[in-house]
Structures are given as structure tokens and as C-alpha cells.
């Protein structure tokens, strides 16, 4: 039922998008890319109970990989774009696999701190490794890929590409969280000790979830690089990770869809309201506070009586 509503909503957006104006369509693509990252955080926070504060790191890894391949080697600007997508996901997953070795030992606030620190390590690399990452300047992309007759430089086309990736990611994650593996994650979230006594290797389950989330972060990074035309260390800073976490909390953890809703609210408030009034930050702040006070299970909580 929920999926049907989502599909109708996405289809509506998909139909309206081309007529929304050249700036709004960029914002919509923005929402969808951040929506993918938010869903990956939701897999950790909402389903596994792991609040990750370093998700921007995987986005960054994917984005820098895309930018470096494209500007140094001219790779990924044609049909090999699909290889870059695979590589971006692999890079995100590998980074997460490495970081997971340190992070998964901890839980709760300690997990928060460790992921924060690891995320900032990636920022540090991006900021300081001038020869590879361009340091603070970041990397300017020279253009989006062109797959045969399909040119991504057209914003409408690129929007549909992003929409496609979003839908694919959503279904992949939807299947995942409803699988026995996904249910075991929820079990860990609710009471890890009981799951362990039942014979589950909870460390491994959490680790796998962490790696999968990293892969989707990497995927979003690939799209992010092409969407903005620039990859910069400031995309990897703590506020970027905090934003994504807030999007999930705002939309409703443990729902997947919540991530998209949160991303829409945050991006549209920030980017659109900011162009109209200078006090948009108060509005965003008020939305956060009100959500936490009155909607502990996020905006999705309006439609449902609690967590999934």
C-alpha cells in the first residue's frame, strides 16, 4: 500500500518535473540523490539501530572516484558510466568494510562518535591530498556523460536517470529489509542480546548492513558528482552527514520512504525558501524541533502509528 502511494507520488513528480523550470529540476534531482543517502542511513539507523554520523564519507568516496576517473582518464563519460556506477558502489562498500571493522564494535553514542571520526578522516584526505583531490578547490567536472544519443547534460534527462537510480535503490533496499536478513536487523535493533542467544552472529549482520549502506552511499556519490559538476571537500564535512541523519529522523526512521520525505523537506526549505526569505534557518529549526516534540517517529508517523 505504502509502496503504491510512493510510486504514484514519484510518477507524478516524474511527469511534472520537465515543466518545473530549469532550477527546480536541479533541486528535485538533488532531493533524489540525498534521498538515496538518507535511505542508506535509514538502513542503519531505522532498521539496525546504528546512528551513523559519517555517511557523507561514502558519498565522498563515490564522488571523488567519479571525478578523478572522469577528469584524469576521461573514463565514465560514455557507456562506461555503468562501470563507474559499479566502481562507485564497490568503493563505498570497501570503505565501509574497512571502517566497519572499527565502528561495529561500538553501539549507541560511541558508534556515533566513531563514525564521525572516520568520516572526518575521509574529509582530511580529500582536503590535504592535493595532488589527487585538488585540495580545497575540489575537482571541477568537465561535463556529464553521453550514452549514445542520451546526453546527461540535458537536465531533464539527467533527472530521469537519477529518478531511475532512486527507484532501483528503493526496491533493492525494500526487498532487503523485508527479507529474513532484514528482520534479523530489526531484531538486533530491538534487543541484540536476545538475538545473540538465539544463535545469530549479530556482529556479522550489523557489519553486512554497514557495508551495504556504504555501497548505496557510493552510488549516490557518483550521481552527486555529475549533478553538481564539482566535488569539494565541503561536501564531506560533518554538517553533510548531520543533514542526512536529520533527514531520516525528520522523515521517519525505519520506513525508507521517510528518507526521501526528509530530504525533500530539508532541500526544498533550504534551497528554495532561502531564495525568498533570509530567516529560512529559523523555519528549518522550528520544523526539527516540532518534529522531535510532536512526531517522535517522523513525518511518516503522521500516516502510521509508529515504527515498522
Amino acid at each position: 500500500m505504502r509502496i503504491l502511494v510512493l510510486l504514484i507520488a514519484l510518477a507524478t513528480v516524474g511527469i511534472i518535473a520537465p515543466f518545473s523550470g530549469p532550477f527546480i529540476i536541479l533541486l528535485l534531482a538533488h532531493v533524489l540523490v540525498l534521498g538515496i543517502v538518507a535511505m542508506s542511513v535509514d538502513l542503519l539507523l531505522g532498521y539496525t539501530g546504528l546512528p551513523s554520523l559519517g555517511q557523507a564519507a561514502y558519498l565522498g568516496v563515490g564522488a571523488y572516484l567519479t571525478a578523478i576517473l572522469a577528469t584524469r582518464f576521461g573514463f565514465g563519460l560514455g557507456w562506461d558510466f555503468w562501470i563507474v556506477v559499479a566502481l562507485g558502489m564497490a568503493a563505498g562498500a570497501l570503505t565501509a568494510a574497512f571502517f566497519g571493522l572499527f565502528a561495529i564494535r561500538a553501539s549507541g553514542v560511541y558508534f556515533l562518535m566513531i563514525t564521525l571520526a572516520l568520516g572526518m578522516c575521509v574529509w582530511g584526505l580529500a582536503y590535504r591530498w592535493n595532488s589527487l583531490t585538488g585540495g580545497d578547490n575540489g575537482i571541477n567536472m568537465r561535463g556529464r556523460p553521453k550514452l549514445g544519443a542520451l546526453s546527461f547534460s540535458d537536465d531533464v534527462t539527467f533527472f530521469y536517470v537519477v529518478l531511475g537510480f532512486f527507484i532501483a535503490s528503493f526496491f533493492a533496499l525494500h526487498v532487503l529489509v523485508n527479507s529474513p536478513f532484514g528482520r534479523s536487523l530489526v531484531g538486533i535493533r530491538e534487543r541484540e542480546l536476545r538475538m545473540r542467544i538465539l544463535g545469530y552472529n549479530t556482529w556479522l549482520h550489523k557489519y553486512i548492513a554497514f557495508v551495504i549502506a556504504g555501497a548505496f552511499g557510493g552510488l549516490a556519490g557518483v550521481l552527486w558528482a555529475h549533478l553538481n559538476g564539482i566535488v569539494s571537500p565541503s561536501d564531506l564535512l560533518l554538517p553533510a552527514s548531520v543533514d542526512v541523519l536529520l533527514m531520516v529522523v525528520l522523515g521517519g526512521p525505519g520506513t525508507l520512504v521517510g528518507g526521501l520525505i526528509g530530504a525533500s523537506v530539508v532541500v526544498l526549505l533550504r534551497e528554495y525558501l532561502a531564495t525568498v526569505v533570509p530567516w529560512w534557518q529559523y523555519v528549518l529549526g522550528a520544523v526539527y524541533v516540532l518534529t522531535i516534540l510532536y512526531l517522535p517517529s517522523g513525518i511518516m508517523g503522521l500516516f502510521k502509528g509508529g515504527r515498522a
Binding site: D136, N137, R142, I230
Partner: protein, 410 residues
């Protein structure tokens, strides 16, 4: 802020309309974050000129749309896209950080809109990258432009061994690079280069590593960093003289500084203490209106507005189109608060560079003792290539953390 709302409504209403008698200027400056106050200085300078002209450039009504770029390159890109795509501005002006300049330049190509770099000093945009970007013009300075003369000045005034401490990003690299190049070409030696990140608040970890046998410390600080460093150096008991890149002592930070900076020398294309009638009048008016001495951020944007006005005068108020505009603005020769300005063939200003010393005194008829950047030497008509041959200069790579290499380190 109603003006903004109306502008947006207007833009939506005539989404294709480019009214001949309207000039839409999109302005990018940080309005939040650690650079917010600098952004305010930038906006004030530009706004003051528009107000002086009563909102009309040669008959074209000026619509001035300010966007907050937060001092972050990706945000700058997004806002530039917004200005061009949604507001359909004729030109974009601003961008604070050099890295933001490098990021917005490609946008000007994508949206085929003029981008006037009124602050962002990223060297390469008017050097090796110029050919890629037909829609940009710079009205301010390249990072290294004032620091070639400063390097020469330092070497001629008895400094032999210098340690550099520069903010670790494009601007810092280019300022240090320009200084080092001219300084070493004249016989000086840079013996150590330290790179704290942009926005560093505590220099505790860096100060003890500074070599004590140096004759001077050359700093490149931006915004709030500039206040902290001289204080901490003094507290650490280091007596080595400080000299600085233009932004280490510009009039944005100067009023908040204490006596610890007396005698420090820096270089820039503008000083509020310039004793010319044009500048005296500018300082007086600006101070009356905004209650503070104008910084180069204000002067540069004021002058930029003046340049745009001059172009519009020639076209009698109709927008000449991006290509023509670039052509016309680079042919201007103007008298501005900073002195005479013309452009070189790479769309960068040729202008006076002032070597300045911080002094406490009365100036421009104000009756209080204040800190002023007294001009102690003027290098007239300095181009971005200094005394070097353009072709040879362009053959070397852009100044970076590793170029020029630190031959005398260790």
C-alpha cells in the same frame, strides 16, 4: 526583503523577458557562517554605488539579487545556477573564496552568463584557464598580484630568511607562491612553509614549529584567522617581525585588532588610508552610511558596480549581451578609490599596489586614534605578471602548495 520577493515574482512572470531597460545583477557573497561579515562588506560596497545612482545605471533599472554562498564552493555553484536559471540575471558578481571562484567559473559557461570576479582572486582564471572561460572578467586582483611587489620590497628591506604561514587553500598557496617567487628571485630565502587549514581558530600547534632564526614571518590569513595569529605569536613571546598578505591586515580585520599588530607590513591594491580626494570621499561616505571604514571587499565591489555602470553608459542603458559586455568592460580606464585601473589582455586589472604599514594615528579628519594601513610605498601599474614576461610566466604551473618548491627548507 520585499524587494527579493518581488524580484522573484517578477522573474516568474516574465520568465523569458529580458527587458532592455532593466539590469539584473546576481550577487554571490557569504551571508552566514564564519565569513558572513565579509559578505556584508561586499554587499554594502555594491549597494552603496547603486544607491548613489538612485537604482539606475544609465536609465536601466538595477535589480540587485543577493544570494548566500556560505563561503563553500558547492553552495556557490548551486546559487549561481539559481541566479542564472531562475532569476535570469544578466550578470553574476562576487564569490569570496578563490576556491569558490574556480567552482563558479564553469557555471558561467554552462549558463552562458557573465561572471564578474569582484573578490575571488583565483590566479589561474585569468591566467592559464582564461581561454576556457569566455564569460568571466576580474575587477579585483589575482592572489599573487600584490605579493610579487611585496616579495621584492621585503628582500630590498633587509629580510633574508622568511617563514611563511598560509591558509591551506588556493588563495593561500597563490599568495605565498607570488611572494616566494619575487622574494627568492631577488635573493631572499623562504626557509619554511606552514599550512594551517582555512578557518583555523587556534594556532597553538603551529606556532612552536616556526623556525626561530628567521628574519620575518609572512602570513596569509583570511577573515577571523587574521585576528588570532598575531595575538598568539605575541603571547608565545616570538619577536620575529610579521609581514602579511593583503587579507591578513585589510580594513575588515584591522578595527578589531590591538596594538600587537603595530608596524606589521602588508600589500594590497587598496588601503582605506590612501590620501587621495577620491578615496577620502569614499571612506567618508561609506563610514557615514555603514558606521565602519571600508575594507577592500567594499571598495572592490563599489568599483565593480562603477565599472558596470560605465559600460551601461556607453550602451545607453541597454544590455549589450555577454560577449560584448566582456569586451567593453575590459576596455575601460577608470579612476577609482583604489587609484587608476585598466585591464590587461587577460581580463585582469592593472593597478597600483600599495605596501602598507599598520600605524595608530588620526586619519581623514576623524578625531580618534585608530589603526590605519599607512601606505609606505606605491608600485604603480602592476599587472598580474609583475615584471615577468607573460609567456614565460604562463609556462610555469600555477602557484600551489608545492610550487615554487621550498629549496631552502631544512
Amino acid at each position: 526583503m520585499n524587494r527579493k520577493v518581488l524580484t522573484i515574482l517578477g522573474a516568474l512572470a516574465l520568465s523569458t523577458g529580458v527587458d532592455a531597460q532593466e539590469l539584473k545583477i546576481g550577487f554571490l557573497a557569504p551571508m552566514t557562517g564564519i565569513f558572513a561579515q565579509i559578505g556584508k562588506d561586499m554587499e554594502n560596497g555594491f549597494q552603496m554605488y547603486i544607491d548613489e545612482q538612485k537604482g539606475s545605471f544609465a536609465g536601466a533599472k538595477v535589480t540587485f539579487i543577493v544570494e548566500d554562498e556560505e563561503g563553500k564552493p558547492p553552495v556557490g555553484v548551486r546559487k549561481a545556477e539559481k541566479l542564472a536559471r531562475q532569476d535570469h540575471v544578466h550578470l553574476m558578481v562576487g564569490g569570496l573564496l578563490a576556491s569558490t571562484g574556480y567552482a563558479i567559473a564553469p557555471v558561467s559557461n554552462r549558463v552562458k552568463t557573465v561572471y564578474v570576479l569582484s573578490i575571488a582572486a583565483a590566479d589561474d582564471l585569468t591566467q592559464r584557464d582564461l581561454q576556457q572561460y569566455p564569460y568571466i572578467v576580474r575587477t579585483s586582483w589575482t592572489s599573487s598580484q600584490p605579493h610579487h611587489p611585496l616579495g621584492k620590497w621585503a628582500c630590498e628591506n633587509g629580510f633574508k630568511r622568511v617563514v611563511t604561514v598560509g591558509a591551506d587553500y588556493a588563495f593561500g598557496h597563490e599568495v605565498v607562491g607570488g611572494f616566494q617567487k619575487a622574494f627568492e628571485d631577488c635573493g631572499g630565502q623562504v626557509v619554511q612553509k606552514i599550512w594551517p587549514p582555512l578557518g583555523t581558530k587556534d594556532f597553538g600547534p603551529y606556532i612552536p614549529t616556526i623556525k626561530r632564526d628567521a628574519d620575518a614571518i609572512f602570513t596569509v590569513m583570511v577573515g577571523p584567522m587574521a585576528l588570532q595569529f598575531p595575538k598568539q605569536v605575541q603571547e608565545a613571546g616570538i619577536k620575529t617581525p610579521l609581514i602579511g598578505g593583503g587579507t591578513s591586515y585589510d580594513e575588515f580585520v584591522l578595527p578589531s585588532m590591538g596594538d600587537e599588530v603595530l608596524g606589521h607590513v602588508s600589500a594590497l591594491q587598496y588601503s582605506a588610508a590612501l590620501d587621495t580626494p577620491r578615496n577620502r570621499e569614499f571612506v567618508r561616505k561609506y563610514r557615514e552610511k555603514y558606521g565602519k571604514v571600508p575594507s577592500y571587499y567594499s571598495e572592490s565591489n563599489y568599483t565593480t558596480a562603477q565599472m558596470i555602470h560605465e559600460v551601461m553608459k556607453q550602451t545607453k542603458g541597454s544590455w549589450p549581451g555577454p560577449e560584448k559586455f566582456i569586451q567593453m568592460i575590459t576596455r575601460l580606464k577608470l579612476d577609482t578609490p583604489r587609484g587608476p585601473v585598466r585591464f590587461d589582455d587577460m581580463r585582469n586589472p592593472v593597478q597600483n599596489i600599495y605596501i602598507k604599514k599598520v600605524e595608530k594615528k588620526k586619519m581623514h579628519g576623524y578625531d580618534k586614534d585608530e589603526l590605519w594601513n599607512t601606505v609606505i610605498k606605491t608600485y604603480p601599474e602592476v599587472s598580474q605578471f609583475w615584471t615577468y614576461k607573460k609567456e614565460e610566466f604562463l609556462k610555469q604551473p600555477v602557484y600551489s602548495r608545492d610550487f615554487p618548491p621550498c629549496k631552502f627548507c631544512n
